[in-house]
């Protein structure tokens, strides 16, 4: 079945250590929600599995699985401790 997300474009922004692991331009195909996005990111970059971060969809930090729309921006932010 052709996913409705086939032509979808999502912008993914990684911060801090996450960008060190996965690089600055990350793309993932065919994901309908944040859970499946995280699953495929973890598969692609296993080191992300042991890393702490929060997820924001369109500049809102989310607490549970969230539908990703076309042209959405998803940001993954780790905590910083430095001062």
């Amino acid at each position: 079945m052709l996913s409705r997300n086939y032509f979808m474009s999502i912008k993914i922004i990684l911060f801090g250590k996450l960008a060190d692991i996965a690089g600055n331009s990350v793309s993932v195909d065919n994901v309908a929600d944040t859970d499946s996005l995280i699953n495929s990111l973890h598969k692609k970059y296993p080191a992300l599995t042991n890393t702490k971060y929060v997820i924001a969809v369109d500049k809102q930090i989310i607490k549970e699985n969230t539908v990703i729309n076309n042209n959405s921006t998803v940001a993954l932010l780790p905590p910083f401790s430095g001062g």
Binding site: K17, V54, I61, P78, P79, F80, S81, G82, G83
Partner: protein
């Protein structure tokens, strides 16, 4: 201060229509506490003192080191070895002798935190470790204090303001409910930091503080601002309170005193760590299981002693492979093994003694060569 002096010193901000004499009076009456007089604390303090905040407290138990000077811009080479809190207070007093500056040359702990924080209206978190950050967050939530939060890593910074006034207000635990575990996040000493970055973020913290006091503009309440010094990208997120956060914040002073923040965040020195010498002694005695928690392909290979291989991610499910009453975990540098030791301690409790090899196999091989 004489009225004429007051006008002279603060003239350029008093003439701002939004600010005015009223804004200046608000600053002079304000009480601000900076926790940490390091990379973030130095620029934040410098601007708050210059702006005329009437009472400023500075908490820091650290002393100035040469490798601080590239970012902790209040200090000079003559200050090396001196108390940061006391030196900062003295230097800032010269900048503005008209205001009150109080130095607390002590480490913030659960024992003194509530007492010190309660004396002030706005708290600035410029500390460099998660245990103190979570403690400050909880104390400010408990005491309903404004918390101006800033944190940095390498080339990136975060700023936010936690109002702690009503139930909808966000605090740090709404973003990151639990402290990260050992090794999940690197500190400045491990990861490095561009000197100018805390200058930018610390100055933003001073700006947020001045906006809160004077009531001008829009402080970053329920917002998280991020900045990347390499590509100048800024990103501002909206935050919202979580229902569960309330249960993570201590209810009262006695609950606060009972929390072991060092333990929560796995402070660097652990009682269950052993060095290479003790490791060798324990090996000689026998009756132990040694566990390599690195990924299976990781080098260097270990042929010198008998051990079992369980990568960190599989430690919990394969704990039954461990039979002896004494267990030593090791990895490359001693961080993941510490996590593994914690996991195993959680599983076996008092029934087994669990240790982690400090410095990891890299350090052990190095020691062996020098013998």
């Amino acid at each position: 201060m004489s009225v004429q002096n007051l006008y002279d010193r603060y003239h350029r901000q008093i003439i701002l229509p939004e600010f005015g004499e009223e804004g200046q009076q608000k600053l002079l009456k304000a009480k601000v506490l900076a926790i940490g007089a390091g990379g973030l604390g130095c620029p934040a303090l410098q601007y708050l003192v210059a702006a005329g905040v009437g009472t400023i407290g500075i908490v820091d138990d650290d002393v100035i080191a040469l490798n601080n000077l590239h970012r902790q811009v209040l200090y000079s080479v003559n200050d090396i070895g001196l108390s940061k809190a006391e030196r900062a207070a003295k230097i800032l007093h010269q900048l503005n002798p008209e205001i009150k500056i109080i130095a607390y040359n002590e480490r913030l702990t659960t024992q003194n935190a509530l007492m010190i924080i309660d004396e002030y209206e706005i708290i600035i978190d410029g500390t460099d470790n998660f245990s103190t950050r979570y403690m400050i967050n909880d104390a400010c939530a408990l005491l309903n204090k404004f918390l101006v939060y800033g944190a940095i890593s390498q080339f990136e910074g975060q700023v936010s303001v936690f109002r702690n006034d009503n139930a909808d207000d966000v605090n740090y635990r709404d973003i990151f409910p639990d402290p990260p575990k050992e090794g999940e996040v690197l500190n400045c000493a491990e990861a490095g930091v561009l000197g100018v970055l805390p200058g930018i973020i610390g100055t933003m913290m001073a700006n947020e503080t001045i906006k809160l006091i004077t009531g001008i503009g829009e402080p970053l309440i329920n917002q998280l601002f991020t900045y990347n010094a390499l590509n100048n990208q800024v990103y501002q997120l909206s935050l919202s309170a979580r229902k569960e956060t309330g249960s993570l914040i201590p209810k009262d002073e006695s609950a606060f005193l009972k929390i072991d923040y060092e333990w929560l965040c796995a402070a660097p020195i652990q009682q269950n760590e052993i060095d290479s010498d003790i490791f060798n002694e324990m090996m000689a005695k026998g009756h132990i299981d040694v566990v390599d928690v690195r990924e299976l392909h990781e080098m260097p290979a270990v042929n010198e002693f008998k051990h079992i291989k369980i990568p960190l991610a599989q430690v919990a499910e394969n704990a039954s492979l461990i039979k002896s009453d004494t267990v030593i975990t090791f990895c490359q540098t001693g961080k993941r093994s510490l996590q593994a030791a914690k996991i195993l301690s959680g599983i076996f409790g008092e029934s087994k003694k669990i240790y982690s090899l400090r410095g990891g196999i890299v350090e052990w091989k190095k020691q062996k060569q020098t013998v």
